[in-house]
């Protein structure tokens, strides 16, 4: 069962565990996998009739897969038989620490070249009066070589960006964590800013909606 709040000791243990976990995992080039994702979008765009349809189809698949994989990852031992579930808590603020832990475990110490640690916005401070998380993409392997000739952003449907599928990947991870912890929230994530739309960094916003009974 998840604790109510992560202690400093547990955070320290997790800090050690993430380094060992990344060292032990089998790895490949990040850009190779980013390219694979872009190729899938290229192919899905052909198959489903438009760039927007291709991105949305891939996003749907990714969200479902990431929910399932997250619960597996949570139970995988990372430090002397201790798994990630020992570092979960029901405190929404702690989720920023857990997401950072996931990024480190998957990408190693260079993860911050890609994204920032998520920022937690409590319900009382958010515009929607619901808990939110904001994640910034400071450099993006998914769009660094996507020119306008390849994908013209002005032709995408409203609400669809090149990174929509990645936003849904993180949404799936967060939903998987919420479900595992037993928090009754439905996570909705969207990419509100994208390099390809003229911004200096990408921005993903996640909102927690109470689940309908």
């Amino acid at each position: 069962m998840a604790s109510e709040k992560l202690s400093g000791f547990k955070k320290g243990m997790a800090g050690l565990g993430k380094r060992l976990a990344f060292r032990m995992m089998k790895k490949t080039s990040f850009l190779l996998i980013a390219d694979l994702c872009n190729v899938v979008i290229d192919k899905f765009s052909d198959i489903y009739g438009s760039r927007s349809a291709g991105i949305k189809r891939y996003a749907d698949i990714i969200r479902e897969e990431s929910i399932g994989v997250t619960s597996d990852i949570v139970e995988t031992p990372i430090l002397f038989g201790i798994s990630l579930k020992s570092f979960l808590s029901t405190n929404l603020k702690d989720l920023t620490f857990i997401i950072e832990l996931v990024f480190y475990t998957v990408l190693g110490e260079k993860w911050s070249y890609f994204v920032t640690k998520p920022e937690y916005i409590p319900a009382q401070l958010s515009g929607k009066k619901l808990p939110q998380y904001i994640l910034r993409i400071v450099h993006c392997p998914f769009c660094l070589n996507i020119t306008k000739e390849k994908e013209d952003e002005s032709t995408l449907e409203s609400g669809v960006t090149h990174g929509t599928w990645f936003a849904k990947l993180i949404e799936g991870i967060m939903q998987g964590l919420m479900d595992y912890i037993g928090l009754e929230y439905r996570v909705n994530g969207e990419e509100t800013q994208c390099f390809m739309n003229g911004y200096d960094y990408g921005e993903l916003v996640y909102t927690l909606y109470p689940k309908e009974k």
Binding site: S29, L32, I33, L36, V39, K43, F114
Partner: protein
């Protein structure tokens, strides 16, 4: 107008600030990530198409990826075995064991670990392997080496003989090249 899109913006003007390809190329990603982004794609192809057409799409994933990779990574050697070594180490993130079978005049290539098979759910489907895109990748990459006068050959074929993802003890590829 979608509020997410800036007006009067030239889409390609910030390509450089999106990140350094070499930095991302050198960054290592756990193959666990592939469990999220890859198996569902295989299922989508197999659901939408008949088996042979789905196989072609999976093969084509690797073929098309090679075109992306060639933009930022070109092998330095001009010897076939060393090129395979470089691809294994720099791109695939593993070491390849390469043996030449004199009887059949083919190379047998086996990765120490396979990013498309490790950590993946098993794929129990005769004739299709998780690492099937590797066939397309090698064909596509060598075509580009030839087109850029970096390595010349007359013919080439690649076949995944077995894979860990389908229950074998190791992945094994047969590469035939006529120089």
């Amino acid at each position: 107008m979608d509020s997410r899109k800036k007006e009067n913006f030239s889409q390609d003007s910030n390509l450089i600030s999106r990140g350094d390809p070499q930095t991302f190329f050198r960054m290592k990603l756990s193959t666990v990530f592939l469990r999220i982004v890859y198996p569902g794609v295989l299922t989508a192809f197999l659901t939408k198409y008949d088996f042979e057409a789905a196989k072609k799409h999976v093969w084509d994933l690797g073929y098309r990826v090679s075109k992306y990779v060639f933009n930022y990574f070109k092998t330095k050697s001009n010897e076939f075995e060393k090129i395979i070594d470089e691809i294994g180490e720099k791109v695939w993130g593993t070491k390849f064991k390469i043996q030449f079978n004199k009887e059949r005049s083919v190379y047998l290539v086996s990765p120490k670990t396979c990013p498309l098979c490790e950590d993946m759910p098993p794929l129990d489907m005769k004739g299709l392997h998780n690492c099937f895109p590797f066939e397309g990748f090698l064909i596509g990459y060598f075509e580009l080496l030839k087109a850029h006068n970096l390595f010349d050959y007359k013919e080439m074929s690649v076949k995944v003989l077995q894979s860990k993802g389908s229950g074998a003890d190791k992945c094994l590829y047969e590469v035939k090249i006529v120089i």
